[in-house]
């Protein structure tokens, strides 16, 4: 809606404007799920189920915001709901002979099923959204104002990315997570419980993904429907590879993916209708090509946690 209004007023300038706006709006859920997935994968586990977590977060945030009138409470509950799904994933995927990819896909079905089931009553009503910061107030053009409405959640995500880097680099717990993910034997020799560290990392990662869901339903697009997520949760896995397991790179990658997602609709609004869906697939094609060019049959990707996706050592 905003993109169309933008183009009416300022013509072709609407395209870069819509991309900037889309980068921040569309990038926010990507940012939270990719940071969550980054934390999870650093501990050596893959969580493909963040798609279900994202939907569960979106639904619970919207539902709580509607019932209590307090969207911030919704954000907290979304995180807790995410952490609850993460606990299931973390526990189950560490059982003997249980494949974390398979558990992730089962969690997508379970999480999205639960979200759709419990979220049925919230599809119609309008819940209070999160307040936004009006950084565009200096401009008299409504399109610019609309594009520069920034969510505090986006800023929170901006803050978490460097925090996570600091956590991995400079804290004791960060070292535990990296040790468990890179070399479980060494971690065990240090006396670290692999099970506990992975469990906590998966839960914390899912907590972040739940907040990413809250940003979908309480910020942009700001409604609760069953089609609210367009695969951001699944994309998180590709995004983290794209970002080489580096939280700051996750931030840039999320912005890039958010912007790429906005490219299709904004070109459509200035009359370029051909190839709309192909533009939507741009991030996936990009990730695939980057993997093709940076992988090598002789070694694993630089930056990949050593024990990622391996049977428990």
């Amino acid at each position: 809606m905003t993109t169309e209004a933008a183009t009416e007023a300022i013509g072709w300038w609407g395209v870069p404007l819509a991309i900037i706006a889309g980068t921040m709006r569309g990038g926010t859920p990507f940012l939270f799920v990719s940071l969550g997935e980054c934390l999870t994968e650093k501990s050596g586990k893959i969580n493909l189920g963040l798609e279900g977590t994202l939907l569960m977060g979106a639904m619970s945030a919207y539902g709580v915001s509607y019932l209590t009138g307090n969207p911030w409470l919704g954000v907290v509950v979304a995180g807790i709901a995410g952490g609850f799904l993460g606990a299931i994933h973390g526990w189950l995927s560490q059982q003997r002979r249980v494949n974390d990819v398979a558990v992730g896909i089962a969690m997508i079905i379970f999480g999205s099923g639960l979200a759709f089931f419990l979220g049925k009553p919230f599809i119609q009503p309008k819940a209070p959204s999160l307040p936004t910061l009006e950084l565009g107030a200096w401009s008299s053009i409504p399109a610019v104002q609309a594009a520069l409405q920034i969510s505090p959640l986006f800023l929170l995500g901006l803050a978490i990315a460097p925090l996570l880097t600091w956590f991995f680099k400079s804290t004791r717990w960060g070292l535990f997570v990296r040790a468990v993910g890179d070399s479980p034997e060494a971690a065990r020799a240090m006396g670290v419980s692999i099970f506990k560290v992975r469990m906590l990392a998966v839960m914390a990662g899912s907590f972040l993904a739940g907040i990413g869901g809250a940003s979908l339903s309480l910020y942009y697009p700001g409604v609760w429907t069953e089609r609210i997520s367009s695969g951001q949760g699944l994309m998180a896995v590709a995004l983290v590879i794209f970002a080489r397991w580096n939280p700051i790179a996750c931030l840039w990658a999320s912005l890039l993916f958010g912007g790429a997602q906005a490219l299709g609709p904004s070109l459509q609004s200035v009359g370029i209708k051909e190839g709309y869906y192909l533009f939507n697939a741009a991030p996936y094609i990009l990730t695939l090509f980057i993997m093709i060019f940076t992988c090598s049959p002789k070694q694993t990707l630089a930056g990949a946690p050593g024990a990622l996706g391996k049977e428990d050592g």
Binding site: Q95, A102, F117, K120, A281, G309
Partner: protein
């Protein structure tokens, strides 16, 4: 396999999955009770809708057929130790290949003019269907072989590349049916032109179940024989067990990877052809309704065994078929089916860790009691 010593093992491989399904049912019952539905009534409804009568069982069979085919897309590469999750993409691409071929063979064009529709080519239906099946198989097969090739030649993780290929395939489907091959008459739901009725894949005589079920059963049996009873399958499983040993033994690992990925993708592509030729008649967004992701879980729940996958497909097909009745008689939203499916899969996946944990199922070898050594200086046996 059932010999004097092995019966406990065989029993274990039946008791654990069935036990898991029962526990899953129990959890689902608790969930129903929590949301205020009568669990016993819900069980009865699901049973009636899925397996109760021949008439309703046919609905289950219709849904099980694509699951069987799609599960092979994961189960076959798994023999080589590959985790392929590109089932949805291969299914969509197979469906696209099939509809384009079918329209060309039926009308001579993917965008037939009204007069072409009025006077379709007189290609025998069997030729059209055969061409469609081949197209589905080849396109789906090549799609997953891409993931296999990237794995072998570039070391790209096949799980992630096949996941990305899903999204690319779905985007390609939406792009094609939204423009280049769109039937202008399809307004709300962009679709390709529809196949003429005569060229559709019909039903097995005496039933409402289309021939896709037979494809699924035959493909599953062939896949089982291929991996358990042929040199090719043996080579694949050897390479899956230890890739370095396989290379040293001179097995063509690259060729095996490409072949088995092609075969897996071919099965999912055939599922797409079946959905197009027997159910939808045209290609549209209904092609990606989740048979792909369902197939992955079927394969894992069946422990990558194509014969076991037949039964798991029937179970999941039954759950899917019961969605309508849960909505009508218990006023439960259609997502109930997803919750049920999710719970069953989670419990079945967990049950895999239980093998070997129960004493009862352990083989109890009969030891020849050796004569006790005269002195206790002999090294203790472990």
């Amino acid at each position: 396999m059932i010999s004097g010593q092995n019966w406990r093992r065989t029993l274990e491989s039946f008791v654990i999955p069935f036990g898991a399904i029962l526990v899953g049912l129990l959890f689902f019952g608790v969930f129903c009770a929590l949301v205020g539905a009568n669990p016993v009534g819900v069980y009865a409804s699901i049973w009636k809708a899925a397996f109760g009568t021949w008439s309703t069982f046919q609905n289950t069979l219709i849904r099980a057929a694509p699951l069987m085919l799609s599960s092979l897309c994961t189960a076959l590469p798994a023999q080589l130790g590959l985790v392929i999750i590109g089932n949805e993409g291969a299914l969509v691409m197979g469906g696209l290949g099939a509809i384009i071929t079918g329209l060309v063979f039926s009308f001579g064009s993917v965008l037939p003019a009204p007069e072409q529709i009025a006077a379709p080519l007189m290609t025998p239906p069997i030729v059209v269907q055969l061409a469609m099946a081949i197209a589905g198989i080849v396109v789906g097969g090549v799609w997953i072989a891409i993931a296999g090739a990237l794995r072998h030649y570039r070391g790209v993780n096949e799980t992630i590349s096949s996941l990305l290929l899903n999204y690319i395939a779905i985007a390609l489907l939406n792009h094609l049916v939204g423009g280049p091959i769109r039937d202008p008459g399809s307004l709300n739901k962009p679709s390709s032109f529809a196949l003429p009725e005569v060229n559709m894949l019909g039903d097995i005589p005496g039933t409402r179940v289309h021939w896709g079920l037979l494809f699924g059963l035959v493909a599953s049996v062939i896949a089982y024989v291929l991996i358990r009873r042929t040199t090719f399958g043996f080579a694949a499983r050897t390479a899956g067990g230890n890739i370095r040993a396989a290379r040293i033994a001179g097995l063509p690992v690259g060729k095996l990877t490409l072949m088995i990925c092609f075969l897996g993708g071919a099965c999912a592509g055939l599922a797409g052809m079946v959905e197009v030729a027997a159910v939808q008649a045209s290609a549209n967004e209904s092609l990606n309704v989740g048979y792909g992701y369902g197939g992955i879980l079927v394969a894992f729940a069946a422990r990558q065994n194509p014969l076991a996958a037949i039964f798991i497909s029937l179970l999941v097909g039954g759950i899917l078929a019961s969605g309508g009745i849960l909505q009508r008689t218990h006023n439960l939203p259609d997502a109930t089916v997803l919750v049920f499916q999710g719970i069953i899969f989670l419990v079945v996946l967990y049950s895999d860790s239980l093998y070997g944990r129960f004493k009862f199922f352990r083989e109890t070898p009969v030891y020849e009691v050796p004569p006790a050594p005269p002195t206790s200086t002999a090294a203790p046996t472990v």
